[in-house]
Symmetry: C2
Subunit: 475 residues, 2 copies
């Protein structure tokens, strides 16, 4: 039985067997206390081996990191902590671990644990993070399924470039030392596996739209890639994206969906990951003790999550936001690093000012200048702005980016050419605007940004099992 | 309101608006019947425009493929088919479609529809397939979540080769025309994005094991890749795999999990996709009419699915299976294309004989010769076979492949070297056998094979939205 279930039982000396990894061993020969964890919960179960019950040779092998099966009677716990403990009668050692086991019971830096990503799942912090990550992923599928969306698996290997300017990884089957050349001396991609140049997708949106313009409501949830040489706490070369797309939705419906969706999944985590969130909240408080007072958060982790779930998001246009920023104290006092003027791409410092200082709640900005947004966004009547929306969160800035899509064939074709995309390359995308076009809208949510926000972690490498970043593809 | 919901209403002349795509238009000016579908269900709703209710100009634009919003009163249907229909009072045309719209209401070949994958979602067949695909995907997540498994997102870009012999796609950020060379004249991969040679993953299993050896029960559900030049109805270069992995499971637990899991998801589809399955069942019957009697299926589509859900799978060892095959009529009469002898890799003809002729139910074969299986499978005591298991289905052959994993460090290391994998390359995998190793097991299910089986389709390119195959990466 898993420890999560075991800890819920009423102890009546029933015989149970626990299988898991030893976190700590304390005490002497007279009585030994063994904390065991199996990953099903943040909580350990304590096995108590009284003198003579377990032979000494076996007890010696019970050390931090060892894997064991302990059989015994479930009894009420004498000490504090859990309500039940296990009076050990038999211990089977599945796998030993000597002192070189890196996850000894002491504080490890997150950097060190990243280098031991194959073992960090066995720590409290990463156990909690990856249980929460799972719960959020399940909440995503449940939300969309319950609301009539169909999960669409859009392609990973692609010959098109959804963003028009993405830094994409090449995918090839050539022997790279000697790829076949054409008469012009250049590589002959017609001989490559797919008969053309291919890359890893940066977004499933274009294909998602094809699905939505038939099934009405779809969502994708899959890996996407950026070959951007950004060594920051916010960037991964490989990350998971959630992209719903809905026919007949206009910008306002899209905002309603984004707000409802993100509140749902966070609420789901609050309800289903209480123990793990409590642990991470305490961890954060500890972390913050070493920071100067003015850098500490006003809100605890669960307060911050409830804040997002319970507050209506503030909606305003980009133009209104610029006006607020221009009138703001940091702008007047030249405290912003980047200048503010209509037409700029908002920086993180601007987004955080709006969310954290001005409105003190999540913000949705809409109707951005067309020149700073993607070609597929629907032009507003003024021909200057597009029906874009960005959802901004405290601490994290942009967490969702979306738009109503251009559904007019001629306008979309013009924009395609304007930004330098060959219409031939996305003939199938353009064709959906020729045959039964419909208003439609959607957005993208970077899943790791959501996990960062919910777990309160600060480095995106700590919320994906095996991060892919410049010069790093271990495991 | 979506058509799926609308068709459940009791008609009382309430005003409703339907948004969707016109499938057909019949009738004359006096009264026009318009069948509309929005992808939420296989069923259309019929809008009836009586003479004069809708102006002629608008009615002209209502043609197959056009996208419309029809407002009117919901009334009891006069004709057969649906219980309700819509008395049209207002029609808004979102997008027109002229005669060049390829999805005209007539029979199209599947080959033709593959070339129009951006529009094939708008047909009955592909609408049904992709709704079922979604339902199966959701059932997968629900099954594992309900049973205490954590979804683990294993990496797509990898520097290791899980199968030891996979044909892998290279991933690079180099300008492929002039990659940097080292002093030895070879490409200097230390200058590539990840600082080493990287590929697309063929399986998330190795990393999945790392998760299971801490969280106990994990599953992956993500894209995997094979750069195999196989142009068949069974192979894709990019496909989705489901890989559960469980600590403390031995081979028998693993068989129980596989059987319970696959029965659950098929049952879930039977219960939640009845209309779509009924449609596909009729479609199959039509298809089979053109086949000679002896090539037609004994069972209808839903009979076949119930057969799998209701029968216990037959379990036997590889060695027992070979004995049955050697004694079989087709072997004695030399009707098998491939010879049967202990040590061979079973061919599809052998698997299908066991399932369809001999046992007449799904079969799980276990304990295969080690030489035809992967290095990570646990050696049996005889040192000749390994604790592998393959689940064989009617029509489709192998649908699941799995094993108990080798958890002994020395034995695993020896096998690694035996098959020619550099232990340095998977040091992190080997280390889990050094620190708290545990018995564990898992399996892989190719998701498209499952969708093929449930939909009764015969070409794997028809059950993934945008297939990736040799010389083809369109859309």
């Amino acid at each position: 039985m898993q420890i999560k279930e075991l800890l819920k039982l009423t102890p009546s000396e029933q015989e149970v067997t626990v299988k898991g990894w030893v976190r700590t061993k304390r005490g002497q020969v007279a009585v030994t206390f063994i904390a065991i964890n199996d990953g099903s919960t943040i909580h350990n179960i304590q096995a108590v081996a009284e003198g003579g019950a377990i032979d000494e040779e076996t007890l010696k092998l019970v050390s931090t990191g060892a894997c064991v099966a302990v059989t015994g009677k479930l009894i009420a716990s004498m000490g504090s902590g859990q309500a039940v403990e296990l009076k050990a009668e038999k211990i089977v050692i599945y796998g030993t671990a000597d002192e070189s086991f890196p996850m000894q019971p002491k504080k490890h830096s997150l950097e060190f644990l990243r280098e031991k990503a194959h073992l960090r799942f066995r720590t409290n912090t990463f156990g909690a993070i990856f249980r929460i990550r799972h719960t959020l992923a399940f909440a995503v599928h449940k939300y969309f399924n319950d609301n009539g969306f169909f999960n669409l698996h859009t392609p990973i290997i692609t010959a098109s470039d959804a963003e028009g300017a993405g830094e994409m990884f090449h995918v090839t089957n050539f022997d790279m030392e000697k790829p076949p050349k054409g008469d012009d001396g250049n590589i002959d991609y017609s001989q490559d596996f797919f008969g053309r140049k291919t890359s890893l997708t940066v977004s499933g949106q274009l294909e998602g739209e094809l699905g939505a313009l038939a099934l009405s409501k779809i969502y994708t949830f899959g890996p996407t890639f950026r070959a951007e040489n950004s060594n920051t706490t916010r960037h991964l070369a490989e990350f998971w994206m959630i992209e719903p797309e809905v026919a007949f939705y206009e910008l306002e419906d899209n905002m309603n969906l984004a707000e409802d969706f993100v509140q749902y999944v966070i609420k789901y985590a609050l309800e289903n990951c209480a123990d793990d969130l409590t642990f991470l909240e305490k961890r954060l408080l500890e972390e913050e003790k070493s920071k100067p007072q003015n850098e500490r958060s006003d809100l605890s982790l669960t307060e911050k999550l409830k804040f997002v779930v319970e507050n209506q998001f503030q909606r305003l246009t980009y133009t209104e936001a610029i006006e607020i920023l221009v009138r703001s104290k940091p702008h007047k006092e030249k405290k912003f690093q980047y200048n503010v003027a209509w037409g700029i791409d908002l920086q993180s410092e601007h987004e955080r000012y709006l969310v954290e200082k001005h409105f003190k709640k999540p913000v949705i900005l809409t109707n951005y200048p067309k020149d700073i947004k993607a070609f597929y966004m629907k032009l507003d009547e003024d021909n200057k702005t597009v029906r874009a929306m960005d959802v901004l969160f405290p601490g994290i800035g942009e967490i969702i980016g979306g738009s109503q899509r251009e559904d007019d064939y001629e306008k979309l074709l013009a924009r395609t050419k304007e930004v330098g995309i060959d219409p031939e390359n996305i003939w199938w995308y353009l064709e959906t605007r020729k045959f039964g076009s419909a208003p439609h809208a959607g957005f993208g949510l970077g899943f790791e940004r959501l996990v960062l926000f919910v777990t309160g972690m600060t480095n995106i490498r700590d919320v994906i099992p095996f991060p892919r970043t410049p010069k790093s593809a271990e495991f």
